[in-house]
């Protein structure tokens, strides 16, 4: 077990400390941003057994690339963009593996020992439908609808303009809703008390 020295300071100081290899800076970075990165990864991938490994990978990439971060105020969105990049890379790797039929198309769900329930199957259905979307559209849907990111932050995390992001999101929503309406297990989530319709892009 490693117990690093405690780091104190704002994000600017934190970035400097990371560049200077301060012994407590990594733990501080993790404690400030891990929950948000975890949420982004989880939204993109679902209840996936590889989430902890991927979370670790995001921070390793961040530490390797900290010298390239030009604006400390962008630390959070920069980490989100690394999370999006890592999630996309994992999805692509899996697509290649699936082609080889090495792994089942069913994702490795966390908590296989736990009693399965309808919500678990509904979750699985959501991510089965997302698996069918083009990757750019899938990420747009995951960040905006599931993660709940503001549009501009989600566009930044994907590294595209706001207009491009909105177009992707619109396509993703239409495709997702069309497919989800045929899945009875998703109806309780889809019908939030009123008829399920596409939202307008605002």
């Amino acid at each position: 077990m490693v117990t690093p020295l405690k780091f104190v300071g704002d994000d600017r100081a934190l970035v400097e400390a990371l560049r200077g290899r301060h012994p407590g800076a990594v733990a501080a970075l993790y404690e400030r941003h891990a929950a948000s990165v975890h949420r982004t990864l989880r939204s993109a991938l679902g209840a996936d057994a590889e989430l902890p490994d991927l979370l670790q990978e995001v921070f390793i990439r961040a530490l390797d690339g900290i010298a390239q971060l030009d604006d400390h105020e962008r630390l959070r969105s920069w980490l989100s963009s690394i999370a999006v990049f890592s999630a996309r890379a994992l999805i692509r790797r899996r697509a290649r593996r699936r082609w080889l039929s090495l792994f089942s198309p069913q994702r490795a769900l966390v908590g296989e020992q736990a009693p399965p329930g309808e919500a678990r199957f509904a979750l699985r259905e959501v991510y089965e439908l997302l698996d069918r979307l083009p990757l750019d559209e899938r990420m747009a849907f995951a960040l905006r609808i599931i993660d709940g990111m503001p549009l501009q932050d989600a566009a930044d995390a994907c590294g595209v303009s706001l207009a491009t992001f909105k177009r992707r999101l619109g396509r993703a929503e239409r495709a997702f809703v069309e497919a989800a309406e045929r899945r009875p297990l998703l109806l309780p989530w889809l019908k939030g008390g009123t008829r399920w319709t596409l939202r307008k892009q605002i």
Binding site: V2, H38, R42, L102, Q106, L109, F121, W189, K191
Partner: protein, 384 residues
């Protein structure tokens, strides 16, 4: 009233809540933190020697991957429902107002509608064989590239061969009618009363029944006599007529007399064929003759179980069904169908309204099969 945007964002929140419940985030965050800090602390630059070792390791990993592919391709697929994993032969039943999803490990899935009853009879690396006993199921089969796909659905006298496709299959046992509605892909439909297999594709819907409209008694007798006269005479086995018909009360003597002289194996085969073709009277006749002539054999005990199934599924005679299931359990207390017989016995007694007996059966069932396919029904009976 909520706006559409609120609905969509509410959907996202539902997903997020389910993810939160499913992933134990705090535990994952702690685990990743420890690993990250240990890794950062002990990180060393890779030396050329280490790279060589990694290359060798990579080669070995490739070989292991190839072996894993071979293993995966040859491994039978598994399946589960919300109540957990199941084995081939288990009864899968969707209760009223509670559709049941059956998920297969290679990605295919079935949605059993209210009151539908089915069994996955066997699984293999490329698919499975599923018996739809009664009701309707939405079927979505994933095509596996490289290995091929081979799924087969049986419903009464019909078989549906699938490669990779989506469709809805409904089988109404009482009326012996089948409805197949394609959504995508194609299947091959065959059956005892179809002259030849038929390809169904696109968004086609097919409605079929092996049961013929009632004919004048003399005509029916003549037709059946003719059919059976040729087939029973031609040994070794009686063959069901090409168009299996709903039997009239009067059965041709030739079938009865054929049963009196047929072998044990022939009687089993005839009974199954007639049962699947919807000829309940003939199936019962063959099974009863089997029990009379070969009493004490394993086949005779299995015949008791099948007679129970016929009584329950095709005649809705629950009292007779209960008698036959109890007979099987007496004759084969440790037989291969014992679990099913015990489950169906409690089901039949519950249908009869014999609450005391059903409770006894339910307790006995749960003692032996606490996680069995009828466990939920048994618990429900005990909780009433």
């Amino acid at each position: 009233m909520d706006s559409p945007q609120t609905n969509l964002m509410q959907f996202g929140e539902c997903v997020q809540d389910a993810l939160e419940a499913e992933t134990s985030p705090n535990e994952q965050l702690r685990a990743a933190r420890t690993q990250l800090l240990e890794r950062v602390t002990t990180e060393q630059r890779r030396t050329p020697k280490l790279r060589l070792r990694l290359a060798l390791f990579g080669g070995l990993a490739t070989l292991a991957t190839a072996a894993a592919i071979m293993f995966t391709w040859s491994r039978p697929i598994a399946f589960e429902t919300a109540s957990g994993k199941h084995d081939a032969g288990d009864v899968l039943e969707a209760l009223q107002h509670q559709p049941t999803y059956v998920h297969f490990s290679e990605g295919s899935q079935l949605l059993l509608h209210d009151g539908t009853r089915a069994r996955v009879l066997e699984t293999h690396a490329r698919g499975a064989r599923v018996l739809l006993e009664n009701g309707a199921a939405d079927v979505s089969i994933v095509h596996r590239s490289g290995t091929g796909t081979r799924w087969r659905f049986e419903a009464g006298p019909f078989q549906v061969l699938v490669t990779g496709t989506q469709f809805k299959l409904a089988w109404h046992a009482a009326s012996q009618s089948l409805v197949l509605s394609m959504r995508s892909g194609s299947v091959e439909l065959s059956g005892a009363c179809l002259p030849a297999p038929r390809v169904v594709a696109g968004r086609e819907t097919v409605r079929l029944s092996c049961a013929k409209p009632a004919q004048p008694a003399s005509e029916t007798r003549a037709a059946e006599s003719a059919a059976t006269a040729t087939s029973v005479g031609a040994q070794p086995a009686y063959r069901a007529p090409a168009n299996a018909v709903r039997e009239s009360a009067a059965q041709p003597r030739s079938f009865e007399s054929g049963c009196e002289t047929a072998s044990k194996a022939d009687l089993v085969a005839w009974a199954n064929r007639e049962r699947l073709a919807g000829s309940v009277v003939r199936a019962r006749s063959a099974l009863l003759t089997l029990r009379k002539r070969f009493g004490g054999s394993n086949e005779a005990a299995t015949a008791a179980f099948t007679l129970g199934r016929i009584a329950y599924d095709q005649r809705a005679d629950y009292a007779e069904a209960a008698r036959w299931f109890a007979t099987y359990l007496e004759e084969q207390p440790a037989g291969p169908l014992m679990g099913d017989a015990a489950g169906r016995l409690l089901e039949a007694r519950a249908r009869l309204g014999d609450r005391a007996a059903a409770r006894r059966d339910a307790q006995a069932y749960l003692r032996r099969f606490p996680e069995g396919p009828y466990a939920s029904q048994a618990k429900r009976i005990l909780s009433e």
